[in-house]
């Protein structure tokens, strides 16, 4: 069982770092979070992520270990961008290996919900031009 955290400057590369498949788990999920062009009803060109370290990495690792124990996962790996990530690029990736799909899906959903609520990472929308002022 392992929980791994990486904070990456800018967009997260493609393809996913391949964790070796093995006969111990039956389900592997890779979840990618991608910056959408539409943020709060307005077109953006990028999101900028502010990461309060080391607290953010510590909490992500702790959350990973909690998901390992609670859902009986085999492995969990989280990657999150810091700084600017252009629209259409990946800012987050969560990889989960578990015996069965139910645990894997539950862990992915719960991890992301908890991360958004608790982990000190803030995002700011960047627009092509500043909003018009009167």
């Amino acid at each position: 069982m392992s929980a791994t955290v990486r904070i990456i400057d800018g967009a997260i590369g493609d393809p996913a770092p391949v964790l070796p498949l093995d006969a111990q788990f039956g389900a592997a999920i890779v979840f990618d979070g991608v910056v959408r062009s539409d943020e709060g009803g307005r077109t953006i060109r990028a999101l900028a992520y502010e990461v309060y370290e080391p607290m953010a990495s510590n909490m992500l690792a702790e959350l990973g270990r909690e998901m390992l124990a609670k859902h009986g996962l085999v492995a969990i790996m989280v990657e999150h961008s810091r700084g600017e990530v252009p629209v259409g690029q990946r800012s987050f990736r969560l990889t989960v290996h578990a015996l069965h799909r139910a645990e894997a899906l539950a862990a992915v959903g719960e991890f992301i919900d908890r991360m958004k609520r608790d982990v000190p990472i803030w995002k700011t929308a960047l627009h092509d031009s500043p909003p018009a002022t009167s």
Binding site: E39, Y52, P54, M55, K116, V119, W122
Partner: protein
């Protein structure tokens, strides 16, 4: 004791700064810092009273006394997307 409370995200943009200085008595706790912020910014007093403050990169009981040099950060996430 004077602490510089680190702020982030939209709050930092709203205040146009990265931290807010607060002056609290010796042996003050996290709760006292919340209260000092609320008093100092009455237009956002509800927000500051309820805001989560991390001390030295972790959350702790709100009534533990602070020590000079502690790093305080306001961890209030907007959530979403």
């Amino acid at each position: 004791m004077v602490f510089r409370v680190l702020i982030f995200g939209s709050l930092a943009r709203e205040f146009s700064c990265a931290s807010i200085a607060v002056d609290v008595p010796d042996n003050a706790s996290v709760r006292d810092v919340n209260e000092a912020l609320a008093v100092r910014y009455p237009h956002k007093s509800t927000f500051f009273r309820g805001a989560r403050l991390a001390v030295n990169h972790s959350f702790r009981s709100a009534d533990v006394p602070l020590r000079a040099g502690d790093e305080i950060a306001l961890i209030e996430l907007v959530g979403g997307g």
